[in-house]
């Protein structure tokens, strides 16, 4: 029988203080980064704007693209090389053209300065504006748009509201479920761990200067789902051990439960991690950030079920013992 842990007896609860300190520091660093950046960096899903992924036949530089965009009046755009070759670029701009060209002059181009080089009012989208500029500035290089996204301001506002509801709603439902299946304090401890996980991931995204988009919100909710999985496995064991080890002190029961489930926690963590690493390397650029969020989430989620959920339950028990109630 191949085993990772032969017989483990690690004093996890003893690490409690250090763990709290570590979590605190990591969260603090993330929060400081968030404050310095003036909040999370939202993608066009939540700010409104346009995103275009352009694929050139021959390599070009970001500066060439920038000067072409400058000439079309889109100088505020962000240009980012996509992948490892210099042929694919992402262009993001806050400018949106709500409406369509044939609607004529009733739809001014928001956020775009008309330099008189292009008939902005006549075109039907930012994409077309850029396309015209590129055909003029890169006459010997063919290109195609692989992705075109435009989110108008009224849609983006609604989406941000929805995203917040998704994450909070997800946590709320989990709190309710864990409360029903266990006790309220397991529920609160689990949700505290979820906040911990999402906050750290959010902070790390801010440090890495990555955008929060709708897929990232989906990743957050997946982290929530994964983290709660781990917390439930540990909590379940604690509940079982309370029946079996009636004479032992509560902190010992919790510690034993963590040790007993440790091999499962590690194996599942490692296998999920393997799968996500594959997704990170082979999944393509489009879901790159998505897999980063999940990778962070798996590590943090595994950590929090041991070092956040368990200590909270232990401390709470010290404060007001309710062992008898947990036996129902």
């Amino acid at each position: 029988m191949l085993q990772i842990f032969k017989k483990v007896d690690i004093d996890f609860i003893g690490f409690q203080r250090k763990a709290f300190l570590l979590s605190g520091v990591v969260i603090l660093v993330g929060v400081i980064s968030l404050v310095l950046h003036g909040g999370p960096r939202y993608g066009i899903d939540f700010t409104g704007g346009s995103l275009i992924q352009v694929h050139f036949e021959n390599p070009v530089t970001a500066d060439e693209i920038r000067s072409s965009l400058y000439r079309t009046g889109l100088e505020g755009s962000m240009i980012q090389r996509f992948g490892t070759t210099s042929t694919v670029f992402l262009i993001r701009t806050q400018a949106v053209l709500e409406g369509s060209g044939s609607l004529g002059n009733s739809n001014p181009l928001e956020g775009v300065e008309d330099k008189g080089n292009l008939e902005l009012q006549e075109t039907s989208s930012i994409g077309e504006v850029i396309m015209e500029g590129f055909s003029k500035d890169f006459p010997n290089n063919s290109f195609r748009f692989d992705r075109e996204e435009m989110v108008g301001p009224r849609v983006s506002k609604a989406l941000l509201g929805r995203a917040v509801w998704i994450v909070l709603g997800g946590m709320g439902v989990i709190l309710l479920y864990v409360w029903l299946r266990f006790t309220i304090r397991f529920g609160i401890a689990a949700v505290a761990a979820l906040f911990h996980d999402v906050l750290i991931t959010l902070g790390l995204f801010s440090i890495l200067d990555k955008e929060i988009t709708i897929p990232i919100i989906a990743a957050f909710l997946t982290i929530v789902g994964y983290s709660i999985n781990d917390s439930i496995v540990v909590s379940d064991r604690i509940r079982e051990n309370i029946r079996l080890m009636r004479k032992e002190p509560f902190s010992k029961i919790v510690n034993n439960s963590i040790n007993q489930t440790l091999s499962r926690t590690v194996i599942t963590g490692v296998t999920t991690f393997i799968v996500l690493i594959i997704l990170f390397f082979f999944g393509g650029e489009v879901i790159h950030d998505f897999s980063i969020a999940l990778l962070v989430g798996v590590v943090v989620g595994t950590y929090s079920s041991i070092f956040v959920v368990a200590p909270i339950v232990v401390e709470w028990e010290k404060f007001s013992p309710t062992r008898a109630k947990m036996l129902r």
């Binding site: 029988m1 191949l2 694929h55 053209l97 709500e98 409406g99 369509s100 060209g101 044939s102 609607l103 004529g104 002059n105 739809n107 039907s124 994409g127 195609r144 748009f145 692989d146 992705r147 075109e148 996204e149 989110v151 108008g152 009224r154 849609v155 989406l159 929805r162 509801w165 998704i166 709603g169 997800g170 439902v173 989990i174 479920y177 709708i214 919100i217 989906a218 909710l221 997946t222 994964y226 709660i228 999985n229 439930i232 496995v233 079982e240 499962r264 194996i267 599942t268 296998t271 999920t272 393997i274 799968v275 594959i278 082979f282 999944g283 393509g284 489009v286 879901i287 998505f290 999940l294």
Partner: protein
């Protein structure tokens, strides 16, 4: 017990064959060569497409558009079914544009979601959809009267400027308005660069009162002369003599009255409109009639005589023939009851879609293979059982996806990968528990029994919570994110079945039928 085992095995066998049967459509479609497709009837191909797994726009390429119908200019009565009428007209246009399996649906009171798979010329499609296509025929005001009104505007502006600047009038231009305009081939035209300046003057408070209530000013289509771009300015009767509702047929063609290479759209009026058209043209001989599309004058020919046949023509100037064809499409389909505004777009080119699906499948295969290898090494023969369970899980997952006509998106593939993790977790929980029981000295049968019973509760709790988060994601999410929620939910349910019921069946079979005494776990 033994009988029970047989029924369970039969059930799983049955379910697996149903799932494989469902999946063979996808396999067949995937294997079709272009030549095979030509040999099949359209109906057969459509049926195969319908039964195979549906790919989202992010995987096969295409456009996702959200349009908002602008109700602001409509009366309450008109506003009531404006969205439904707009939807109907858009459907007509898209049908004529020729897109395979378009999806057009209403969202809320005033939004329309359009999904067009595999569209390559996205700008053209957008122009076709966004056009209001309000066609109007309006009489042009006599040139004398027009000149007189423009003169009045000019004088009024001049007076204001003089008053504002006090004594020093020498530096002022004598014609603040007319200096923008000049005569070109019988039309008053302005340089395109001055368009916004002219509009500002015409919409100012001072000039508003000068233009009579029954008249309005409209721009014409751009004309290019020696590299300069001009736009004619017309003073029109506000009331339309006839609208696009009178049009029965519209066809694109080449060769207009003044240009043999000019692009045009020929219009044929409906039977009822013909006599009206004859009366209108008869009453206005020698006057100019403007053909106005979405508030832009396309041409304003002089009526030479009464027109009886109910025909007319839109002069498209230097436009391409495909522009004319698109205009003919929208005119045939009819005008939108109100302008539509594009508020959201998500489009993916076909090559990126193909790239995404290849990479997605590759990561599923690699991720799956590595996990399987790990399970085999760590849990030995029992690991092999878990592997079969995992494969069954994937078969069921894809079969259910295609049977329910769910759409597979890129986030959906990520959901599948996560499902692999969850399925493996369930087996890890069970196996670790059985190991513990064996270590504590229980017999194999009891160890398996207790292992499953104890692990069951944990797996249930953890799967239910993940399922709940997936449902919330489905509830609030849009588009591709829903695809993630769908595959994750189906995956969890399948994994609950395969990881618990199927593996249990194998272990029970091994212990009771094969009399296995020592488990390699």
């Amino acid at each position: 017990m033994k009988k029970n085992l047989r029924w369970k095995a039969l059930l799983i066998l049955l379910l697996t064959s149903v799932a494989l049967w469902q999946l063979h459509y996808t396999w067949r479609l995937h294997r079709l060569t272009p030549e095979d497709k030509r040999n099949m009837t359209e109906e057969e191909l459509a049926r195969l497409h319908d039964k195979a797994i549906h790919l989202g726009l992010d995987l096969q390429g295409g456009m996702h558009l959200v349009l908002q119908v602008d109700h602001s200019a409509l009366s309450e009565e008109e506003s009531k079914d404006a969205t439904d009428r707009a939807l109907e007209i858009l459907r007509n246009r898209i049908d004529q544009f020729g897109v395979y399996e378009p999806s057009i649906e209403k969202q809320g009171g005033d939004r329309i979601i359009i999904q067009l798979p595999g569209v390559v010329d996205r700008e053209r499609a957008k122009a076709l959809i966004g056009k209001t296509a309000l066609l109007e025929f309006k009489i042009v005001e006599e040139p004398e009267r027009t000149n007189q009104i423009f003169q009045e505007i000019d004088e009024a502006l001049h007076k204001i400027e003089v008053e504002a600047s006090g004594e020093d009038t020498l530096n002022l231009a004598p014609n603040p308005f007319l200096s923008f305009l000049f005569n070109f081939g019988g039309d008053l035209v302005a340089n395109n660069r001055d368009k916004s300046e002219v509009e500002k003057i015409l919409s100012s408070e001072e000039t508003k009162g000068i233009i009579p209530k029954d008249l309005e000013i409209s721009w014409g289509n751009e004309v290019v002369v020696e590299g300069f771009r001009y736009r004619p300015l017309y003073l029109l009767k506000k009331k339309a003599e006839l609208t696009g509702a009178a049009i029965q047929d519209a066809r694109a063609g080449i060769g207009t009255n003044d240009n043999p290479n000019g692009v045009k759209v020929d219009l044929t009026m409906s039977r009822e409109a013909r006599s009206l058209w004859a009366a209108i043209t008869g009453a206005n001989v020698n006057r100019r009639l403007a053909i106005v599309l979405d508030n832009t004058v396309y041409s304003a020919p002089i009526i030479r005589e009464r027109i009886r046949g109910g025909v007319s023509q839109i002069d498209m100037g230097n436009s391409s023939i495909s522009d004319a064809q698109d205009l003919a499409i929208v005119l045939r389909a009819g005008a939108l009851p109100a302008p539509v505004i594009l508020i959201e777009e998500r489009s993916v080119g076909p090559s990126l879609g193909k790239d995404s699906i290849e990479k997605g499948i590759r990561s599923v295969l690699w991720g799956g293979a590595l996990v399987l290898l790990f399970m085999l090494i760590y849990y030995n023969l029992s690991g092999a059982v878990a592997i079969v369970a995992l494969l069954l899980n994937l078969i069921f997952l894809f079969a259910i996806l295609s049977a329910f006509r769910a759409t597979l998106t890129l986030p959906g593939i990520a959901g599948i990968i996560l499902t692999i993790g969850i399925a493996v977790d369930a087996n890890v929980l069970i196996f670790e528990r059985i190991r513990e029981e064996i270590r504590s000295g229980k017999t194999l049968r009891t160890a398996i029994d207790t292992g499953y019973t104890l692990a069951f509760r944990t797996i249930l709790d953890s799967n239910v919570t993940t399922l709940l988060t997936a449902l919330i994601l489905y509830w609030f999410g849009t588009g591709p994110i829903r695809g993630f929620a769908v595959t994750l939910s189906i995956g969890i349910i399948c994994s609950f079945f395969t990881a618990i019921v199927f593996t249990r069946l194998v272990f029970d079979f091994a212990t009771s039928r094969l009399n296995v005494k020592k488990l390699r776990i």
